[in-house]
Each structure stands twice: as structure tokens, then as C-alpha cells.
């Protein structure tokens, strides 16, 4: 029973913390532009204020438009339950591995792309087509990076990989896995719609991918979609934190250990958010057809990671 509560707490932490990561990156970007940026309360208020609002729905839209936010948020919730946060185990850890993770995210993306086409606008088609094309390339690099980690750890579930890394010294872990880290970081930038792949703060036709797909959404549906996007971002950062910096994970269910691991987790997450923000500030958005070059780099890093596992470990 306590285990169940702990795992549920882990999931709840993830889901509730998600908007604050966006807040942190927004504050960073604002600071670099000599602005003040939103407060922490503002980011949560932005989500909550959408619920009492009336929605405007396109006449062309069908039931897919109405169903999509639920499917997207539900699949993101399930993914959040799959990812190890404070413990090597997770709520659904008994039933998941890398492939389940990637394909559950794919389910949400599939319906997101469909709902974009549902409204019959050009923006929707544009966002949908770009998103599906680029995410296919990203999935290739992501899967290969994860598989190289799995080959190293002889286990293909997150729990297995984390346990294996936690048992080895920092230098060794970093040596073998920094390439995969680079690959997954690049794909994270793409999946969370950050510069240099996509600009999350624009509504210009030339530069939108993710925003173009949800242009027609308003009110409570928009709140669901935004929240699920933030949760996805935190899930990726959690994976990066826990797979590549696997220290501070608690094994003994005492309150001090729990508190300590929450603290370490927060430090790791905000450190990675800092890295993402730093990259966002210092890069320019790539031309659409230069983004595959970025994915090529991610793919090469992943292949080298795999090669490294086999060459150096025999």
C-alpha cells in the first residue's frame, strides 16, 4: 500500500511540476532579453484561467476535434506513470519499456496531427505535415540512442537501465553515455518544440510547427493540450536526468530519503531546464529543411554510442 502511495506521489509530482519547468525557461529567456518574465503563479494561472472560458469550435470540425485533447492528455498521463522519477520503479513500470514509451507518445501525436487536419485550415495541414515528418526522423535517433543504452545495460526497460547506471561510477557512465545523451537532448529539443527546431512563442506561418496544429483550439481544450505538452517536456527531462545522472534515487522508503531524493530530482531537472534554456537563448531557429541535418547529427551520435558500447565493452 505504501508503495502504491509512493508511486502515485511520484506521478503527481511529475504532473504538477510540469508547468514550473516552462516557467523556469521563460524566466531565463526573459532575463536574456532584459525583461522580467512571468511569475510562477502566472504560469499556473494561465492554465487554470482557460477552464471557465467559452470555447469557439470550427464548423468544419468533427468529433475528432473534441476527442483529441482527451486522448492526448490521457496518453501523456500514462507515459508520466511509466517514467521513473524518484525511484527506479514507476507506477506503470511493471508494464513498460522504451518501445511502449515511444509508441504511447506516438498515439498522442497521431491524434494531434489528425485534429489539425480536422479544421480544414492551411495552418493545420502545414503544422501536421511538418510535425509528422520531423518526428519520424527524431524517433529514429531516439530509438537508436535508447537501444544503445539498453545494449550497454543489458536491459531495455527504464528501471533496468537506471539500476545499471546507478551501480557504476560517474566517470564510466559519462564516458559511455555522453553520446547518447547528446542524441536524446537533440530529440528532446525537437519533441518539446524548442528553438532550434520550432519556436514555441510564435504564431508566424513560416516558423510554426506545434503551434500551427493547435491554432484553432481555445478554452478548456487548449488548457488540456498545453498541460500535456508541458508534462511531455518534463517527462523527457526526467528521463535525461534519471538515466544519465542516476544519483540520489532513493531505495529505502523513509521520509528523509524521500525528501532528499525530491530535492536531488528538482536540482537535476532545473539544471537540465537551464541547459535547454541556454541552448534556446544561444541558437537561432533552423530553416525547416535544415532540421533534418540536426537529426542526422543526432543519429550519428546514437550510432557512435552503439559502436562505443560494442567496441569498448567487447
Amino acid at each position: 500500500m505504501t508503495k502504491f502511495l509512493l508511486l502515485f506521489f511520484q506521478w503527481l509530482l511529475l504532473v504538477a511540476l510540469a508547468p514550473s519547468v516552462s516557467w523556469f525557461i521563460k524566466r531565463m529567456k526573459a532575463a536574456s532579453q532584459n525583461r522580467r518574465g512571468p511569475t510562477l503563479v502566472q504560469v499556473y494561472a494561465d492554465l487554470i484561467k482557460l477552464f471557465p472560458k467559452e470555447m469557439v469550435v470550427s464548423q468544419t470540425a468533427s468529433w475528432i476535434f473534441h476527442v483529441m485533447p482527451f486522448i492526448l492528455l490521457a496518453s501523456t498521463f500514462v507515459v508520466a506513470a511509466l517514467v521513473p522519477v524518484l525511484w527506479t520503479d514507476s507506477f506503470l513500470g511493471f508494464t513498460g519499456d522504451i518501445i511502449v514509451f515511444v509508441y504511447l507518445l506516438g498515439l498522442g501525436r497521431f491524434f494531434l496531427a489528425l485534429a489539425a487536419l480536422d479544421t480544414g485550415t492551411t495552418f493545420g495541414g502545414m503544422g501536421s505535415s511538418r510535425e509528422m515528418a520531423l518526428s519520424s526522423l527524431g524517433e529514429l535517433a531516439l530509438l537508436l540512442a535508447f537501444f544503445s543504452l539498453g545494449v550497454y545495460a543489458h536491459a531495455f526497460s527504464f528501471a533496468g537501465i537506471m539500476t545499471h547506471f546507478a551501480a557504476h561510477g560517474p566517470m564510466e557512465v559519462l564516458f559511455f553515455t555522453n553520446l547518447a545523451f547528446g542524441a536524446i537532448l537533440i530529440v528532446t529539443l525537437a519533441e518539446t518544440a524548442r528553438i532550434p527546431v520550432d519556436n514555441p512563442a510564435t504564431h508566424l506561418e513560416l516558423t510554426m510547427i506545434h503551434e500551427a496544429m493547435i491554432l484553432e483550439y481555445s478554452g478548456k481544450y487548449l488548457a488540456l493540450i498545453e498541460w500535456s505538452h508541458q508534462i511531455k517536456q518534463l517527462v523527457f527531462l526526467s528521463l535525461l536526468a534519471n538515466l544519465f545522472l542516476p544519483w540520489g534515487i532513493f531505495n529505502v522508503p523513509t521520509t528523509t530519503a524521500l525528501g532528499w531524493s525530491v530535492l536531488v530530482y528538482l536540482v537535476k531537472i532545473f539544471f537540465l531546464a537551464f541547459v535547454v534554456g541556454w541552448i534556446e537563448i544561444h541558437s537561432a531557429k533552423l530553416r525547416l529543411f535544415r532540421v533534418p541535418d540536426l537529426f542526422a547529427i543526432a543519429f550519428v551520435l546514437a550510432i557512435l554510442s552503439l559502436l562505443g558500447q560494442l567496441m569498448f565493452r567487447g
Partner: protein
């Protein structure tokens, strides 16, 4: 620091070395290429220093210092100065696009690992892994030389090859005699200066340093 962790550190630096050489291939901007080369040489000097510390070979320390001064500071500055004076375009022009050159680079890295797979069992050295990395660096230097159009980037490829050979010398034989090292470095410096002079001359004669234009120089 224990010897064990220095060995791990050196391996880690070796991986970074590969990444920076890939960075030279993957960068579309000339200034980024030059910076990656500076980073590559910096890592090289760090590795030299680590091996010097581990095996107490102090002439390697002097090598490391010289490498640092020459290749991390002097040569990149010369490159930047030349590219400013000539006004060469900021972008690196090449015959094949970036993903294809990355793909070729990966294949060359495979080949270098495959070719040296037999050396693993024969060598008693703990740092056998640097042989494939060094050969890979040489191959990547060759790739840069053959696929880039501008003369300045071709010289960069040549320097990358030289870095690879230096790495091989350091890790396989723990450094050549100091005199030989000095001679090589001096050669490199003179070569760069001469390259600079020639590029000016080529440019003033042909109004451009695109080697494509030089293809008209045939019988």
C-alpha cells in the same frame, strides 16, 4: 587522482576528440570549423598532459604546452586573420551536403575500428583504443580535404590529419623524441604561414580561392 580514473578521463577525452572532428564536418560556418579545430587541439594537449602525468614523461609536458600554444592559439588566429583579410564567405562550401558527409564520416569511423580490431589482442598497452581514434581522425581529415571547395578548409583538413598522426605518436609510443616533435611543429607553423602567403597570391591572381576555378589549369 588515481591512475585508474586518469585512464577513464583519457578515454572520455578520446570520445570528445571524435565528436569535435565530427563537429568540423557538421558545421556549416567556417568560424565554427576553426573553433572546433581549436577545441580538437586543446583536447589533444590535455590528453598529452594526462599521459605525461601518468607515465612521468616530462618531455611530453613540453609537447603539450607547445601544442597548446601553437595549435590552440596561434594557428586559429592566423586562420581568422586570413579569412577576414580575404573576405571569404562565411559558409563552408562542399560537394556533398551535411547529412551525406556525416554518413560517410560514420562509415570511415567504422572502417578504422574494423581495421584495428586485430590490434586489441596484440597490444599490451592500456590505451590501444586510441589507435582507431587516431586513424579515424586521419580519415576524417582526408574527408574534409576532398569534399570542401575552398582552399582554406582544405588546409584545415590537412591539419586535422596531422593532429591524428600526433595522437598516434603520443599514445602508441609515448611520444617521439623531443627534437622530432619540435621539428614537426615548426614545419607545421611554417606550412601555415606559407599557406597564408599563397592564398593571398592565389586570390590576387585568380580573384577567388575556389579550387573549382583552378580546374581550368590543365593541358
Amino acid at each position: 587522482m588515481s591512475s585508474e580514473s586518469i585512464v577513464h578521463l583519457v578515454h572520455f577525452l578520446g570520445m570528445l576528440l571524435l565528436i569535435t572532428s565530427l563537429g568540423i564536418i557538421a558545421s556549416p560556418l567556417l568560424s565554427a570549423c576553426i573553433r572546433f579545430y581549436a577545441m580538437h587541439s586543446f583536447l589533444l594537449s590535455l590528453i598529452t598532459l594526462a599521459i605525461a602525468y601518468n607515465h612521468h614523461l616530462w618531455h611530453l609536458g613540453i609537447s603539450a604546452l607547445l601544442t597548446f600554444l601553437l595549435k590552440v592559439i596561434a594557428i586559429p588566429q592566423i586562420f581568422f586573420a586570413i579569412s577576414r583579410k580575404i573576405g571569404v564567405r562565411k559558409e563552408v562550401e562542399s560537394y556533398i551536403n551535411i547529412p551525406s558527409s556525416l554518413f560517410l564520416a560514420v562509415i570511415l569511423i567504422f572502417v578504422s575500428f574494423y581495421v584495428t580490431a586485430g590490434a586489441k589482442t596484440g597490444s599490451a598497452l592500456s590505451s590501444w583504443e586510441f589507435l582507431p581514434i587516431a586513424i579515424a581522425t586521419v580519415f576524417l581529415g582526408m574527408l574534409v580535404m576532398t569534399t570542401r571547395k575552398k582552399a582554406i578548409t582544405q588546409v584545415l583538413g590537412l591539419l586535422l590529419m596531422e593532429n591524428g598522426l600526433f595522437l598516434m605518436g603520443i599514445t602508441m609510443t609515448f611520444g617521439m623524441p623531443l627534437l622530432v616533435e619540435l621539428g614537426i611543429l615548426f614545419d607545421v607553423l611554417v606550412g601555415i604561414i606559407m599557406m597564408g602567403i599563397f592564398i593571398f597570391k592565389i586570390r590576387s591572381a585568380f580573384e577567388g580561392i575556389d579550387v573549382d576555378d583552378m580546374t581550368v589549369l590543365k593541358g
